[in-house]
Amino acid sequence: MTTWFAIAGGLGAWTAQLLASYAVLDFGCTGEGASAGALVLPLVLISVACGGVALAATLLAVRRATGARGATRGLYLGGALLDSLSLVTIAFGAVLPLLFGPCARG
């Protein structure tokens, strides 16, 4: 389980952020009594939680890659790349609601 977390934890965290934020924005901005301001806190919490998971997965993958050799090392290096890429994307996604305001439309 820890191995899978090191390899795919970041991707899972990014997926969770995307789906949870999508649900919050789509429901929160269109439902009855919607309040944009009230959505900022849940969005930030989602991003922080998912970012934390991705960061933990990245650190774990790097740590495991350091001690490993051959194909196993490649596996963890690949995992570290995927996790860190996910972390960057989560960070991008976290900033946007703060910049625009959650329910602003184009």
Binding site: L11, W14, T15, Q17, L18, S21, Y22, L25, D26, F27, C29, T30, G31, E32, L43, G70, A71, G74, L75, L77, G78, L81, L82, L85, V88, T89, F92, G93, L96, P97, L99, F100, G101, P102, C103, A104, R105, G106
Partner: protein, 837 residues
């Protein structure tokens, strides 16, 4: 050690003579070539469409084509290129080349391959059959035949594609064609995943997998998850068009944006489904012709996985102008930019390989690879530009976007396919291509392509809109369009030259040696063209460079019963390529062709509302289906199995995770699971996220909960059935299977009765329509599980199973578990969530 002669092996695997023999053949080398030839055919038709489109746009205010014909042409061009050429061509190359690369003898389910290919061909022909009335009308002006060609773009957004604005059968042809392509695509994906995971040469761990196999593995998983989205969408649209269910009608609680979501949940990964195998081809061709291993193998594999994964988080970037919340589209903009990273990793890997190459063999495949890198980088950069939301708002629906995606799709997909075809042609046909013609063809295509699409960036930025049949002279866009049209003709001339080259090589091309490129890889250790059994001796792989592989020898042998020479190969473990058993593959049969044909007749008959014909064709499909699924006595007992593999002491009746059939079932259920998840997404989207949706029905969950319990009992009974047969208790197996059927029947009856009693009004409310569709789909799943259980029960009665052979019973258990699980989700969504939300 092979203990049968080469001649005996050839007899076992050869393609039967004559036309009927060809229709019966399921050998991957033959079906792969048929698949490729058919995609070439559709590519040619679609190419004619594009030349006609460009001719119309060559000068301002041109009236060569009517607006209606123009709409039809860009619809058939886009649809055919996406569904009938790019993905199928890459799958066709995989069906031919994967067994060679993996060191095995065929794909795991040859009849499924044949069914896939015939279904694809019939579907494509049915799609293009819509043009026949137009051709008759062209030849005989004034004939009364209706216009049937799809005309709402390859994306077919409602309401334009709804019956109100498109009352003919045009869109129905589109939906039907898509359905065929999707079914074929998913079946091929299952086959490819099982091949790559379970049919590799011993010693070929995942870390030694050829990059093309990695790319196909990743792509096939993406297909399993994404294609169901378009199946769900097209089902809703057809139900709306045929029966008036208002999924996309805002006046009755529907939402046209739901179509866009579903279509692009499929449509964006589709871009990468085309692109990833194409990069896989590049990663095979480039190192071979650069005379060094690919730089950064692990990074390239990681990039493939990352690209496929992130491609599912980009779909909204096709909807930036649809009025969604800015923060929401910001998420998708971020993901759209992130995906440039893994693409960049691959690009740098190719560049590093080239820069450190001792010698670059500058032949036609390499020319196409270099053209791919340059063109794709340009297309990628404009991709990052349109991922920026404000920029996209300015260029959306302009020719800038047309130019961008042609740089990605022609540069990123067609060029690698051309490279791959020139590279593998000697293996496919045993003939070498003419380098001079290839070079001329390449330069015409490359120059023509850039002449065609580079000016379109400028035209788009100057305001040239997409999907218009003409434009006023005052816009000043004539020169860009004229250049584009000239480029299209030059490119067409290049492809024509390639076509001549291919045909000429078959006629009088020089004979190819086994390895004309001096390339690594198991595909090059066998003769050209590849023999029908691909690898006479299964290789033992000891490293990523597979030239040094030696023939595999069994550790222990056993005496083999006298019997026929079977089409057989080894099954290996998914991760490390350890030998697990023998897979005896199905032989030639007319059943796949016959089933595809009846499937087509049923669909066409339903399209034209010829219900009696549909019924007859359905009945006609029963004998071939039974022939396919009901093995003859010899096929069950397999006397002589293993002889052509050196008589290893291995079982030919694998069960569980060692069986290819078990994996195929699991993957099929995964795809059905994706379908279910998307149907649930659609339900919630309309029920809760859309403020104008009709009131959500709040039914009592008691009866539905009882149905779930009954389905769980059916799954439990099938688990008991499995444990009984594992102990050799056939009557116990029959009793437990019977119990699962009784429980399933009761569950289906409870669900159906409750549904009928609910008084749903699916024609008046989108929410009710969604409720009814999802719930009846669940009932259909139960009926399917009942049919499968009944069939396996009949096989059990006929003594097909014992303690060693029972994978079908394991598959029944998987199916009931899935049906029970999906029913629990459906009931939670439809019956419980309204009480909670």
């Amino acid at each position: 050690m092979t203990t049968v002669s080469k001649e005996a092996l050839e007899r076992a695997w050869e393609v039967p003579p004559g036309i009927v023999g060809k229709l019966r053949s399921v050998n991957n080398n033959f079906t792969g070539l048929v698949f490729m030839a058919s995609t070439f055919f559709f590519f040619t038709l679609s190419g004619f469409d594009s030349v006609a489109l460009r001719t119309q746009l060559a000068i301002p205010e041109n009236d060569l084509l009517s607006e209606q014909t123009f709409n039809q042409l860009f619809t058939t061009h886009g649809t055919a290129m996406m569904f009938l050429f790019a993905v199928p061509m890459l799958e066709a190359i995989a069906i031919y080349a994967l067994p060679l690369m993996l060191g095995t003898r065929d794909m795991p389910f040859p009849r499924m391959s044949a069914f896939t290919i015939w279904t694809f061909i019939f579907g494509g022909l049915l799609f293009y059959a819509s043009t026949l009335p137009d051709i008759v009308n062209f030849v005989l002006p004034g004939s009364p035949l209706p216009n049937l060609v799809p005309n709402a773009g390859w994306f077919a957004y409602p309401p334009l594609s709804d019956r109100e604005f498109n009352p003919g059968l045009n869109i129905d042809f589109y939906l039907l064609g898509l359905g065929f392509a999707e079914v074929a695509g998913i079946a091929a994906a299952v086959e490819i995943i099982v091949s790559v995971l379970k049919m590799r040469a011993p010693g070929m761990s995942l870390a030694r997998l050829p990059i093309f196999a990695w790319s196909m593995l990743v792509t096939a998983f993406a297909i399993l998850v994404s294609f169901p989205a378009v199946i769900v969408a097209t089902t809703y649209l057809e139900l709306q068009r045929k029966f008036g269910l208002p999924f996309f009608d805002p006046e009755r609680g529907g939402d046209p944006l739901l179509w866009q979501h579903l279509f692009w949940i499929f449509g964006h990964p589709e871009v990468y489904i085309m692109f990833l195998p194409a990069t896989g081809l590049v990663s095979m061709v480039l190192p071979a012709l650069a005379r060094r291993p690919l730089a950064g193998y692990v990074f390239v594999v990681t990039a493939l996985v990352a690209t496929a994964f992130f491609s599912f988080g980009l779909w909204v970037h096709h909807m930036f102008t649809a009025g969604l919340p800015l923060a929401l589209i910001g998420f998708f903009g971020a993901a759209s930019m992130t995906i440039a990273f893994p693409s960049g990793v691959q690009t740098f890997s190719w560049l590093a390989t080239l820069l450190s190459a001792p010698r670059i063999v500058m032949r036609t495949p390499m020319l196409y690879v270099l053209a791919f890198i340059a063109t794709f980088v340009l297309g990628g950069i404009t991709g990052v530009m349109v991922a920026a939301v404000p920029f996209d708002w300015q260029t959306h629906d302009t020719y800038f976007v047309v130019a961008h995606f042609h740089y990605v799709l022609v540069g990123g997909v067609v060029f690698p396919i051309a490279a791959g075809l020139y590279y593998y042609w000697p293996k496919f046909t045993g003939r070498l291509l003419d380098e001079r013609l290839g070079g001329w063809g390449f330069w015409l295509v490359f120059v023509g392509f850039n002449l065609c699409f580079l000016p379109q960036h400028v035209a788009g930025l100057l305001g040239m809109p997409r999907r218009v049949a003409t434009y006023p002279e005052e816009m000043g866009l004539g020169v860009y369009n004229l250049a584009s049209t000239a480029g299209a003709y030059v490119m067409a001339a290049g492809f024509l030259l390639h076509g001549i080259d291919l045909v000429m090589s078959l006629w009088r091309g020089r004979k190819a040696t086994a390895d004309p490129w001096d390339a690594p890889g198991l595909e090059w250790i066998v003769d050209s063209p590849a023999p029908p059994y691909n690898h006479r001796e299964i290789p033992l792989v000891t490293g990523r460079d597979q030239r040094a592989s030696s023939p595999w020898r069994p550790e222990r042998t056993r005496p083999v019963t006298r019997g026929p020479v079977w089409r057989e190969t080894l099954v290996t473990s998914a991760i490390d390529g350890r030998v697990q058993g023998i897979a005896v593959l199905s032989g030639d049969s007319i059943a796949p062709f016959a089933l595809s044909f009846t499937f087509t007749v049923v669909s066409a008959a339903l399209l034209f509302e010829l219900y009696a014909v549909a019924l007859v064709a359905t009945l006609a499909s029963v004998p071939p289906l039974v022939r396919w699924l009901w093995p003859a006595r010899a096929e069950r007992e397999l006397p002589g199995a293993g002889a052509s593999l050196g008589s290893p002491d291995l079982d030919a009746y694998a069960n569980g995770a060692a069986s290819t059939s078990w994996w195929a079932m699991l993957l099929t259920l995964a795809s059905l699971g994706s379908t279910h998840a998307l149907a649930l997404f659609s339900y919630f989207y309309l029920a809760y996220a859309n403020p104008v949706a009709a009131a959500v029905r709040v039914p009592s969950p008691v009866a539905a909960a009882i149905a779930v319990l009954l389905l769980t009992a059916a799954a439990g009974a099938s688990r008991v059935a499995l444990s009984r047969i594992r102990n050799g208790d056939r009557s116990g197996l029959l009793a437990a299977l019977g119990a699962s059927v009784v429980a399933g029947l009761a569950a289906g009856a409870v669900l159906a009765r409750d549904l009928l009693a609910l008084g749903l009004r699916p024609l008046e409310s989108a929410n009710d329509a969604m409720f009814a569709t999802l719930a009846w789909y669940q009932v259909a799943l139960v009926v399917t599980a009942l049919a499968v259980s009944g069939f396996v029960g009949a096989q059990a009665f006929a003594r097909h199973f014992d303690e060693r052979r029972h994978v079908a019973v394991e598959n029944v258990l998987l199916l009931w578990l899935f049906v029970a699980g999906s029913a629990a989700l459906t009931v939670a969504a439809l019956y419980v969530s309204p009480h909670l939300l």
